[in-house]
Symmetry: D2
Subunit: 409 residues, 4 copies
Amino acid sequence: MSGTERVGVALIGLGGAVATTAVAGMELLKRGLTDTKGLPLAGVKDAGLVDYGDLVFAGWDLYDDDLAKAARNHAVLKESQLAAVAPVLGRMRPWAASSNTDFCRNVVGHSVKKARGLRAQVQGILDDLDHFKKEQRLDRVVVINVASTERPVDRALPQFATPEAFDAALDANDKNIGPAMLYAYAAVSTGTPFANFTPSVAADVPALLEFARRNGSPVAGKDGKTGQTLLKTVLAPALRDRALYVDGWYSTNILGNRDGEALNDPASKASKIDTQGAVLDSILGYKVQDHIVQIQYYRPRGNNKEAWDNVDVIGFCGQPMQLKINFLCKDSILAAPLVVELARTLDLARRRGEAGVIEELGCFFKAPMTRDGGTPEHSVPEQQRRLMGWLSRECVKPVTRTERLRGQA
Amino acid sequence: MSGTERVGVALIGLGGAVATTAVAGMELLKRGLTDTKGLPLAGVKDAGLVDYGDLVFAGWDLYDDDLAKAARNHAVLKESQLAAVAPVLGRMRPWAASSNTDFCRNVVGHSVKKARGLRAQVQGILDDLDHFKKEQRLDRVVVINVASTERPVDRALPQFATPEAFDAALDANDKNIGPAMLYAYAAVSTGTPFANFTPSVAADVPALLEFARRNGSPVAGKDGKTGQTLLKTVLAPALRDRALYVDGWYSTNILGNRDGEALNDPASKASKIDTQGAVLDSILGYKVQDHIVQIQYYRPRGNNKEAWDNVDVIGFCGQPMQLKINFLCKDSILAAPLVVELARTLDLARRRGEAGVIEELGCFFKAPMTRDGGTPEHSVPEQQRRLMGWLSRECVKPVTRTERLRGQA
Amino acid sequence: MSGTERVGVALIGLGGAVATTAVAGMELLKRGLTDTKGLPLAGVKDAGLVDYGDLVFAGWDLYDDDLAKAARNHAVLKESQLAAVAPVLGRMRPWAASSNTDFCRNVVGHSVKKARGLRAQVQGILDDLDHFKKEQRLDRVVVINVASTERPVDRALPQFATPEAFDAALDANDKNIGPAMLYAYAAVSTGTPFANFTPSVAADVPALLEFARRNGSPVAGKDGKTGQTLLKTVLAPALRDRALYVDGWYSTNILGNRDGEALNDPASKASKIDTQGAVLDSILGYKVQDHIVQIQYYRPRGNNKEAWDNVDVIGFCGQPMQLKINFLCKDSILAAPLVVELARTLDLARRRGEAGVIEELGCFFKAPMTRDGGTPEHSVPEQQRRLMGWLSRECVKPVTRTERLRGQA
Amino acid sequence: MSGTERVGVALIGLGGAVATTAVAGMELLKRGLTDTKGLPLAGVKDAGLVDYGDLVFAGWDLYDDDLAKAARNHAVLKESQLAAVAPVLGRMRPWAASSNTDFCRNVVGHSVKKARGLRAQVQGILDDLDHFKKEQRLDRVVVINVASTERPVDRALPQFATPEAFDAALDANDKNIGPAMLYAYAAVSTGTPFANFTPSVAADVPALLEFARRNGSPVAGKDGKTGQTLLKTVLAPALRDRALYVDGWYSTNILGNRDGEALNDPASKASKIDTQGAVLDSILGYKVQDHIVQIQYYRPRGNNKEAWDNVDVIGFCGQPMQLKINFLCKDSILAAPLVVELARTLDLARRRGEAGVIEELGCFFKAPMTRDGGTPEHSVPEQQRRLMGWLSRECVKPVTRTERLRGQA
């Protein structure tokens, strides 16, 4: 059923747990060694999405281990699954990455782009994408950021206000421009779809969003919605509809992977927790007085993740009740398929000629970006309804490579 | 803001925890001693719902304790709240109830209608409603069943197929007609709205639904959706949308009130568990192989209720994850406001001229009735969307008593 | 440090999850592929216990799969662990077992002893043990029952009262004698130590205990204390010591292995739940009014086991508090090392000349047998203290095979 | 059954939740309105402990609300219980307290001893005790600290090394001497038993312990062991005995009372968390690599307290298992009876002529003090065994007031 389109997916953080799981999972799927469980849009037909088998993966990382080794280290998949895809993954090695230890202190890899200056870094990224396209004979490419979280940046800085100001800042090697922004700039400057699966500031400044609109680049972000926030935004609408007043919500997370270690850097952590902040209040329509979110690095959890939530609600006649949720999940298992679906949906948006923020992809994110910088929709059911609506709009069938070549003839 | 309409709410099981909580809560609200937390439709304006203050409560019970005493025994509300409404509740005493120990073995009260034969029982119920209307100078009445669960009945029996067959069965004192059916018959025979908040079979047989349509009686049911099933139908749509395959769902409940004791009768229990059966599969779109529901009487929980759910899901690449939910809730606190909203919405339906099953009230029920006996919608977000749509339809303003009297003049 | 003693461990239910885990684990330990974590007596020195490396395993099962295949099916250990021991386990195949479907309905295997009549069955068991000793050049043997639970038997029957009565019943092929009793009889008749790790009735009838004392056979049982009961008997003494009154204890278990399926047979289940009955009351010193234990077969849990306990306690001034425990454990991982330690301690008891019930091994059991049939100690701390005391008594050093051979020279 | 002894219990922090609960509870007990549930030594007979009815309460606080008002604010007990003892508690008002905002920043009350200088403060405390004894015609007095946690102090300072150095420091108004030390000094200087139920540094410096021995003052402390640490020290010995290796232990606490607010001061919090640090390692015999303890102020929990613990253990063959414990408890309900028992046991120690640290009372504390500053026993079962042994030693019967008066005559 697979077409002959080939869509490249360039992942920032290719060696990480999420990326290697996505790559390994797609390989397992191609080989019939797994099914489409966990892929939210597997059941969507006739919307014009390219097939899973049409995706071709590559990307950047600060660690240059081949993907077989990286995936084995992350130990997300079963030994037998890793063995089955090792021959393919063993031939994949990340490109050198743009790095800035000021932005991500706890993650220090050695495979770093050597180019001096921000412009040169951007050019290096563009060269990688060009090379990727040619070597793999790709029809189109999508860039997705799944790297470790960078420290917060003030998005209101004047250099982020317009494309022109941003260009000037690039030329001046402005210290406020982090690596994620460089990748975003490179992508949107060439009309390439760009998604930010992390809480880092990437394309979500006025300059780059305007730039994306000008260049026809669809953008989505930010911060993949997987474990605790997913549950929170599933439950909160129901509590609101039943008029159960949320008196307090205590959330604690334990996780033991490289992302967790990065979070031990308070700056990165602040960025992450901040993301959860407004979500709940926005759904409920009032400020939850005691909403506490804790994220804790805890080695024994390994690449798994565990959330414990305690929700105090007040019901009829002021009576208190409690709801406790314990989610034993696997971050990469939840995140990887969303990354895959982002690649497919952003590619569709590009073909449909949509540019700038694609708000209908908000269900994939903890902090959905909006076209006008307004308040996003956080309720999962409502987000899902919008996504389904967007997918069912008049679809633009992907032209297969065969057809295109025929057309060119 | 209260009009001068007076809508009677006749509750079957008036002395029970749910009913006394509803009555006490409405009294506290009138006195400004509590707010509208927990009342799902408190925020709905301009839909034509009567005010909370317009509701007047009465009803039947097998125990004839006055409501102050009954409420104190149930100990759902705080001592100080009970004290505040004791003077009013102390003057309220349930009417003698229709009883049939064959249908509800573990609940044996002594305030029983003495009339011989089913016809006479029905007449007694009608007399109660007439007396209620006159004495309280009511504009309209709604009947809602919140009594203990009766044993299952075969709804496909020929005597339940048509109004005529049912009438004949009534005359013959057919043993398959339980008390809940008698109340339902009495209500729909007079065009009175009827809701069944219990899993018992009441109006949900073809005969009575047809009878309701003929007589202009709006009907809703059955089995109030409060604790565990509410959560289940909130979470399941999200699991489906994220393509997280439910490999198993183990639900256990502990509850310590009179309902719990009734459930120790295996027949009543079967009826209750059965209700949960199809719900999950219907939302997910496949049969959950291991869906286990346990309901256990456990004295120390008292009138509170506790649910523990373990959900095993399979995600991307066949990886298992677990979700555990512990809900420490109060059945009556969750149920009572739904009963109140059912009274308001069914009254609205009656004024809007709607008859038969009002499907849009499905969000209040574990086993929503459908107009054509088809599969109901169980997803909470979708049910909520339908309810909101129904409420926002061209509304029929309640004519206030004053206006009506003026009109008569 | 290993001596040259060789102690055979003949397991009833050799192909089961517990037994295969014990066998595989000991092989991994010998090869240095695992350490002694989980082995309670690994730290005990100078008590005269034989080394782990001195144990030689064999046994009976109704399924005749070789142990490598059986272990792979149970999937208790990691793929790589199973692979490491597959060559050894692949050569081990259970002996045909004594079977009686009346005693264990849901487990139907095909490797059944063909001997007609109970006497012949016993003789078959004895022949197996003899053959085992000779073939493996064993110094001594211990028999341990880890088979699926059999249905309850009335231990007060006259045929179980004395060795003579039992002998007569054997000759008469009495239908009340189940397979576990046959193994127990065979063991104690030859002075062989016997442990019953299941709730089945085996040696725990007066006839066989007397027989054991006469023949010098140490006996221990019954029903291995692993997950929920272990926790219960750890927590209860503390609650007692803090005077926190247990108002109710609700325990639910979900498990998905062959044992779980056996429990779907109500008779076997009754036997298992019954075991937990008196434990709590015995520790607390009063009858817990609401002590509910549920055991539920739940396929998705596989060979793992999960317990959820809710404890309602009443403290100072009658104030209620709640304690909830969720134990995600692996039955075989908890049970297998206890089986190993039982083999070592019973062998020690035999060498020390102790016969009949060895009460000091009570910490390993849910329903510890007592010498006089009196109430056993259930408190884990107290049981542990007694075990340590027993181990530190003047020990009888095991004579190593080398020394013995030398002595014989 | 009550004797005619009168033992005064002077509580530092009398207006707090623990103290008011202790006082109210003892009053309820005297009146027969509650029973001895929750009082650990209620069942101990013939050990020479004074009766509960013989205790007379008073004490200091920075807030001078009468105890009826204070208890109502804490809302630990039921409305009806508070009402029953309001007449008595309403007449009790705390004495002005020694205060030092440098030691306890977040708790600022206004009922402060006006005396200038540390010596004068001590004298004020002694005057209070004298007055208490005379006014209430007490036989003996015990002083117990249940005030909010003070910031940590360096116990190795030279001024804390000897009684003489301490005296000099007192004269010099040394800034390292906090309020808790002043109370401790006053108590031990007069041979009065002193217990420290908080993590503050009080008598646990060499100077004051030596002083206590010289003056015959029995001392106990520190930091009452109630919720999470209690469970931890109950479970850890069992995990050790079963050789289940603790790979990680993640503990989080939410609490909403004045103590919780005090903990929002990082200095006080450090002191509290520190206390838990060595406990686990000491029981297990190895350092738990990932032992994380979080204490979080969370308003909705009110005076209740909730702990969630996740324990990762490694069992046989390196297999991981998880244990999760959710304790919904009431800090004051657990703490108050321990305070009462400390009063009774320290009074017994005084009569038996024991001075200095009474190690056998270690079961009441998170950080038990030891005679020689060595490592304390933390295992609950072992602590309990020692306490029982201490209580069963040749007891010194309390001489009743009647007998004493007779003797004087």
